[in-house]
Symmetry: C2
Subunit: 322 residues, 2 copies
């Protein structure tokens, strides 16, 4: 058991947080991560109320341990925020946008505020907003992200917000990544893509198989999946996905895609429903190199924690008196 | 003292390697790193014979400890390789290009072959070439690089070339970075930008001041400095530098720069000579956030090693029996 400010804040067994991957981190997966001793976060994404009712109902039914929920900050509808809070989550993660308008309501509800940031300036704003925890997310992460890499970003954020605890995110898929996160001064790791390839994750088996098969070089940053789905991300924020036929066809031709949206969207939606990953997006980070099979969340949490503990012990054992 | 395959290979006190930064890692800096217990590598860059004679003469005069030299593989002139080997380096680092044509000569000279790679496929080629050590370099590094981030790249390379020892590079500037490298399964860290900001580094004081002042967001990848200097990098490889007036003016207008090269090159060369960093390049990685002053190499090596040891001990102490 690794004890950090994160594990103490929520009474966790392991400093492992399930990334609230929109539409992938459902209530069942979040509950299984929490039951395994981590912190499961339901991926509320853009805030679909019906989806949230289903998945938050599920997480509250399936775990007695602390859990949480995440929303994309710029897309927040205050009514959806109220809906999510009505399920009494222990943690609320906000990412991409200014958390300050929502911080007071979340904290007043007795919920810990976790702010995910992509650079040092955002980390300072999150601290000002009253964040209880900061997630420093590197550009190697799956899904939307900034431009800074995890390894140098984490210590820079730690220094900027000290003594506020920081969690590392981006490219972490095994015990080595968790051990490195702790060595960098973080109090745990937020892990996405690796949990996508679990039996409990929502989403098609075909998407999970792509993640297992992909190399890091098969991933790339693009806006084409946001354009076709009609999500207007601010500040040119794009996301890391496994390149597929749709991406090869439209990346670099975003104007043309926008011009033929009517046709393309219908086809895209059908592909997403059917799990046709030649067209539908599979968000994934550079950690895919380290993912070799679809497993249960409980197996994964236990192994990542055990491997990190063994690695930290082994690294410390390399130190000899001079 | 941290004992790893790297320290055992060369009899080092610390698993810290000075990156062979072209024109910056001179013989004096390399010798001071080696004397402090790390491994100093002279930055031979494109292979200027006169510069190498001066700097290799200096390193052999100033240290009795193991040291090495690096060259850019695609630019190697066999006569320059022979020249460098005639100084009897203990280690030879090759980066950017196929090491296979040069590996036998280097190893026959009794010199350890270190291959720096930017992805997993290159790591396999380096192993095939007979590399004794592999440096996995993330895209957050200063100077030329690939597209993979350090944190997920290092364990992927470790898995691909096991049991060959791997050194981590890119974004490492303090003890936290070294501790993270070891946690990721590497046997040490190769550090560039942080050593640029030392009293012993070659290059202008103005460049060192820029590194101390810069934030990671001030760095970016570009080809404009290679174009103006006349270096034809293959495969669209560009490098990470601190953005300056020259970069703002020409990045994205590379065709126009090429068309006006005659005028621009004269002005650029004058700026480089005079240390005018509004025009001359200052290669620097995302680790600049962690660099706050110009220090001596010996101070730096000792502090990075001591901090890494303390961090690994502290991380291991977080583990409690369940």
């Amino acid at each position: 058991m690794i004890v950090t400010a994160l594990t103490e804040m929520f009474g966790l067994k392991h400093p492992i947080v399930l990334a609230p991957m929109g539409g992938v981190s459902g209530g069942h997966l979040a509950a299984m991560v929490s039951n395994a001793g981590g912190l499961g976060l339901v991926g509320g994404g853009y805030g679909n109320a019906e989806w949230l009712r289903t998945e938050l109902g599920r997480v509250t039914a399936e775990t007695q341990r602390p859990w949480g929920v995440g929303l994309i900050t710029w897309a927040i509808d205050p009514k959806v925020l109220d809906l999510a809070l009505s399920y009494r989550p222990h943690a609320f993660l906000l990412s991409f946008g200014d958390p300050r308008p929502y911080a007071a309501k979340i904290k007043t509800a007795g919920c810990k505020l976790i702010c995910q940031v992509q650079d040092v300036a955002q980390a300072r704003i999150a601290r000002e907003a009253g964040a209880d925890l900061i997630v420093a997310e590197g550009a190697e992460a799956g899904g939307h992200g900034g431009s800074r890499a995890t390894l140098p970003l984490v210590p820079a954020v730690v220094d900027a917000v000290d003594p506020l605890p920081v969690i590392a995110s981006g490219g972490i898929a095994d015990g080595r990544g968790l051990a490195a996160a702790l060595a960098l001064g973080a109090h745990g790791a937020l892990i996405g893509t690796r949990f996508y390839a679990t039996t409990e994750a929502l989403g098609h088996e075909s998407a999970k198989r792509r993640i297992v098969a992909a190399r890091a070089e098969d991933t790339g940053r693009t806006s084409v999946f946001d354009i076709v789905r009609g999500y207007a991300w601010p500040d040119a924020i794009d996301g890391r996905a496994i390149r597929n036929r749709f991406c090869e066809r439209w990346h670099g031709r975003e104007g043309e895609l926008t011009a033929t949206l009517e046709t393309e969207r219908v086809a895209y939606q059908a592909a997403a429903r059917d799990g046709d990953c030649d067209t539908a997006v599979v968000w994934a980070g550079e950690g895919v190199d380290l993912i070799h099979e679809v497993e249960s969340a409980a197996t994964l949490v236990a192994r990542i924690a055990a491997d990190a503990e063994a690695l930290l012990k082994r690294s410390a054992a390399r130190i000899v008196a001079t």
